[in-house]
Amino acid sequence: MNTARAWEVLGTVPDPEVPVISVVELGIVREVMVDAEGAVEVVITPTYSGCPAMFEIEKDVRHALEAAGASTVTVRTVLSPAWTTDWIPASAREKLRAYGIAPPGPADRGGLVSLVRARPPVACPWCGSTQTTLQSEFGSTACKAIHVCGSCRQPFDEFKAI
């Protein structure tokens, strides 16, 4: 087991809530260290403070690396720098869209509290239409919002930009 191999293995561990992308593509694996004896230390950062999937992810990471021959696996959680959807690469965004989830737009970096929602409409992942309406900022998981498409009439999830 070396660092490159460990990253490769982690690239096969799916996000339990959005299994079409890996935990690496999600951007939560921050650092991977492997010592001479094959002991692996993985540093992950949570998506949301209360995300219940983090425990599951930690377990999956451990199992995958052990199965691939790691002698021991330590998973450490760090809060800083805070996770942002900007860390999700373009290739993974395409996978989300193909899966029926609108990928996140750029994260809001403004320091001001915005009270008037002036977001551009989110394109429907099914038909591409931008005639869509935000139904709720809070969806099936902490990381998703619900929209409805006015063209194909399908509801869809959006991966929230954060």
Binding site: P46, Y48, S49, G50, C51, P52, V78, L79, S80, P81, A82, W83, T84, A107, D108, G111, V113, S114, L115, R117, Q135, S136, E137, F138, G139, S140, A142, I146, K160, I162
Partner: protein, 283 residues
């Protein structure tokens, strides 16, 4: 979903809105015994979010509409997650071997440091939304002030939590506008919520010896500036919601030093019952 007046009416589980006569219960007779300032400070931050998160979790399965049920559960999850981080840090700073679970489940009411605002009963949906808005506006501004705190752990929590709380504030402020500028019924009810809850807002901006002590360690929040920005933000939303800002009359206080209203005890009895009946249980 929408601004129909029945949203508020249909919520049949109102647990009694905050009563006008609520007073903090008597504290320990020889005055509060407070711990090291940074531990106290982190407990105040953590307990606000733990208690409010629990209040919001009471809506799970009872929301007026499905989207709001999910939204309030999401809020609760974020706040309880933030509380876990803050209490874990408080326990680490204290150095007495208490983790976040020990602090959440094995302290009694007088040891809790949350503000009185967050322990008030959830009331109806309007009460819950108004309280959430008042708190979210405070919380976002407080995290902004703490982003640069010269304490790595606290600054990291602030940077994480502010992203979540911005979403919360956007959502709760929109609902305040929707209900306030809604029907005559919804407007009268949320105006009532605002009038009842206002007396608990002063405590959020009070600075005492604990604040001064952590300020000396560099964790300096300018409470007056915080209040001025909060006033501006709240006024803007209330104006849009056609609601009348209550006068700043006498404010209720005591939560920060462990003198709570009767409501906290009932909440803790529920929140702590499983952990106390089965100490150390894992699943």
């Amino acid at each position: 979903m929408g601004a129909q007046g029945h949203d508020a009416e249909d919520v049949g589980i109102a647990a009694g809105a905050a009563q006008a006569g609520d007073r903090p219960v008597a504290g320990p007779s020889r005055g509060p015994r407070l711990g090291p300032p940074l531990v106290e400070y982190l407990l105040r931050l953590g307990d606000d979010r733990l208690i409010l998160g629990h209040r919001l979790s009471e809506w799970c399965g009872h929301g007026p509409i499905l989207e709001e049920d999910i939204a309030l559960a999401n809020f609760a999850l974020d706040l309880i997650g933030q509380a876990a981080s803050l209490l874990r840090l408080a326990g680490a700073v204290e150095g007495a071997g208490r983790d976040e679970d020990a602090l959440a489940y094995f302290r009694d009411g007088v040891q809790f440091r949350n503000s009185l605002l967050v322990e008030q009963p959830r009331g109806d949906f309007g009460d819950t939304i108004v309280r959430q808005f008042l708190f979210d506006a405070y919380s976002v501004l407080l995290w902004e002030a703490l982003l640069g705190a010269p304490h790595e752990g606290l600054a990291a929590i602030a940077a994480k939590a502010i992203k979540e709380d911005r979403y919360h504030l956007r959502h709760s402020s929109e609902w305040v506008v929707r209900l306030g500028d809604g029907t005559a019924e919804s407007q009268a009810r949320v105006q009532g919520s605002l009038d009842r809850l206002w007396r608990y807002t002063g405590e959020l901006f009070e600075a005492d010896a604990i604040d001064q002590a952590v300020a000396a360690q560099g964790i300096a929040v300018d409470h007056r500036a915080l209040k001025a920005r909060w006033d501006q933000l709240v006024d803007e939303v209330l104006a849009r919601a056609t609601l009348v800002r209550p006068a700043d009359g006498p404010m209720q206080r005591g939560g920060r030093t462990g003198r709570h209203t009767e409501h906290l005890g009932h909440l803790l009895a529920t929140m702590q019952s499983v952990a106390r009946a089965h100490p150390g249980a894992r699943w």
